[in-house]
């Protein structure tokens, strides 16, 4: 059995998508797979489809345990007993972390042959990796991003370095992420081990739709205002100058703020903003729009941008995460910062060069074809 541990709480981000793709690929190779999520999630279509093929699904919350087990764990914790009699448990960080001892319980019960830890940030999965090391279960790490603002605390450094050293393989979303992680965690990086999240639909050079004097922009992804700031795009569209221009914006996705965004549009009385149902389809949406726009405040692996670039669409986005590895400002797209003023200036630059969008999209597509390795995912699977 193989465990895939997704350490990110947000559904539909790169880490989550990658975890499901790993699961689908391993199930396709005849492996028994269990997918573990850090918190309780609502069932989604991907999960249901894979469960029909034999995927087991766990989450590291407390809901699936009996009250007697919980009572015993709480009692142990309150009486400061060692939960697993391991070195980590004596450390304050781990003693009361329920998710860690829940994972330990699952690992002991199922004894998987390998644990694959899909991390959004290089630090998020290392606690879980340490548990695997203590229980002598082999594991591999997939790291999408390094969050430079999150520093490694001195008391955590030892455990995290032990977790890194004990990994069978470590993969990174890019060489820059690999170097940044090595610097942050003070370990020596060996040869590059870069992986690419498989595309949701194959890359192809979609013809640009006719403009007819109008430009249609698409924002796709998780409609979560805290990280992705789709509200900024609505505030932008509400500005007088953008209201008066033949510019249209569509949203495609789902998220905890979907209804709030619709209500904001109604509050502003915007008639040039459309909300597409999730069933609309990524390819159909990109076919009908001239460019992708994003306003994320934080980001890691720019999955939506890569999907758009792989279909020959130009990207106007904020400079977060790894976007610069895929979009060159002024050449294959436009980059700004996640504030209304900066996005306004960025959109203004893009607007003034709208006749160059097809050329920029084509350059972006060629860069994608040069950089993206379809085979990287398969190689990672074979190595596992």
């Amino acid at each position: 059995m193989v465990f895939i541990l997704n350490t990110c709480y947000s559904p539909d981000d790169a880490c989550d998508v990658y975890a499901y793709q790993l699961a689908a690929s391993l199930i396709g190779h005849g492996q028994q797979v269990a997918l573990i999520h850090p918190g309780k999630v609502h069932k989604n279509k991907k999960q249901v489809a894979l469960q029909k093929k034999g995927l087991l699904f766990f989450h590291l919350g407390e809901q699936h345990y009996s009250p007697f087990f919980l009572f015993r764990q709480k009692l142990k914790g309150y009486l400061n007993w060692h939960v697993l009699d391991t070195e980590y448990d004596r450390h304050e960080i781990y003693r009361h972390n329920q998710r860690l001892w829940t994972l330990a319980h699952l690992l002991k019960a199922h004894r998987p042959a390998r644990v694959l830890i899909a991390q959004g940030c290089s630090l998020t999965g290392l606690d879980y990796a340490y548990i695997c090391r203590q229980l002598q279960i082999s594991y591999s790490l997939f790291c999408h991003q390094v969050n430079e603002q999150k520093m490694v605390l001195p008391q955590e450094r030892f455990f995290m370095q032990q977790a890194i050293d004990g990994a069978q393989q470590i993969y990174f979303a890019s060489t820059s992420v690999q170097h940044a992680a090595a610097s942050q965690l003070d370990y020596s990086a060996t040869e590059p081990a870069v992986f690419f999240t498989p595309l949701q639909s194959p890359s192809r050079s979609l013809p640009m739709p006719e403009t007819n004097g109008e430009l249609h922009l698409l924002c796709m992804g998780r409609m979560d205002i805290f990280d992705n700031r789709p509200d900024l795009l609505i505030h932008l569209m509400a500005l007088e100058k953008w209201r008066n221009r033949p510019l249209y914006l569509s949203f495609l996705g789902e998220g905890p703020n979907w209804e709030g965004l619709k209500e904001l549009c109604a509050f502003y009385r915007l008639d040039k903003v459309t909300f597409l149902p999730p069933s609309y389809g990524l390819l159909k949406a990109l076919e009908g729009h001239h460019a992708l726009v994003l306003a994320a405040r934080e980001g890691a692996y720019p999955m939506e941008a890569i999907e758009a670039i792989s279909k020959c669409r130009m990207v106007i986005a904020t400079d977060v995460g790894l976007i610069r590895e895929w979009v060159s400002d002024g050449i294959t797209g436009f980059l700004g910062e996640s504030s209304l003023e900066s996005l306004d200036a960025t959109w203004e630059r893009a607007w003034s060069q709208s006749e160059l969008w097809p050329t920029m999209a084509q350059k972006g597509y060629e860069h994608f074809r040069h950089k993206y390795k379809d085979s990287a995912f398969q190689q990672a699977m074979e190595a596992l």
């Binding site: 009250p67 709480k74 603002q149 999150k150 905890p256 209804e259 910062e337 003023e341 900066s342």
Partner: protein, 404 residues
Amino acid sequence: MVCIVSCIEEDWGGSEELWARALPYLGQQGPISIVKEHIPLAHPLWQAFAHSGIDLVELEDKYGTFYHLFWQARQACGFAQDFQVHLWNFKKLLKRKKPNMVVISQGINFDGLAYAEACLKRRIPYILVCQKVVDFHWPKDVERKTMQKSLLGARKIFFVSEHNRRMTEMQFATVLPHAVMVHNPVKVGRRVLPYPAIDGEVRLLCLARLFMLDKGQDMLLQVLSKEKWRRRGLRVDFVGQGADELPLKQMAAEYCPDQVAFLGSYNDIEALWANYHALILPSRSEGMPLSAQEAMALGRPVLCTNVGGNAELVQDGIQGFVGSADITGIDQMLERAWARKADWEEMGRAAHQRIKDFVPPHPEKIFAQHVLQLMADTRLTKVRGAVRRKDFSKSLNESSAQEN
């Protein structure tokens, strides 16, 4: 009786000053209860409340480990998933004390709406105080309808800035006709302190909680790491405490070790300002920052981002400089300020005048008057309602007597 609910998790904060200073005025109407999840009696101000006879009510679970385990076990069995012990205790408090008015002092604009919902369900009048709005922190869709009702059900909603009111209306997509502006009291004396000479080193003070997500110190450090700012004689000292103290110190050590220092907490703000030329606030979100009001009251210009009520308080180029809340915006704002550093002393005097014009001398008194007026209106409404019901029943009895 007035019940004041303090929603912040910390022991004390700037958001508590308004209701705390209004207590002597509110006490005129009768007893006061202050309610908080956990009452930090080790804090001197809370000790002072306890000694003054104010009823302090703690909403945390009082029944100890066994009770806590009982509720954990219930939830593990699938019951009472949404149970929160502090809300349950608050509802019991409302039933027991039946306050005439509940003042819910929130840290942001919807962190206390669960208490408001409890008041609404029991038809207990309440007012909301919103000290800040975070542009990128919205309520989830599943909570919106309930929160909208709680917002609209308040007798009044007090905001500290127009931006906060507008943003709340946008977040909830509803106009708030009962919104009122209120100021927080300025804790320092309103006098222009002697301005230190700018002779080689320009010293900026960043007086804010060390919490990057709100206060944006990480953006400032990234700006200061640029070569041009390293070469200029610019120094920034951070005063405050917070969850991000260690990562910020590590970031400063890596980006700009010679220009930056972390001084911890300071009680004597006036003495602190004697050595600094201006306040810098690179915030991502604000209400109406107290540190800016204090700096301006003492004759110091403010360099800030255009979030919250900053741009309402600080007029760009007059009492300070305002830039957008991103790295480029902060950099450009600092450049403009640097180019005009010879004018900072004059701007500081203009800032002092601005505070005199903008913030009334006793905003807590105005706030208390609002609350007392609302309580009086509520009593009048109840009396009128009773009279109408009495008149109706009297006329009903008369007509029955006539028929008989």
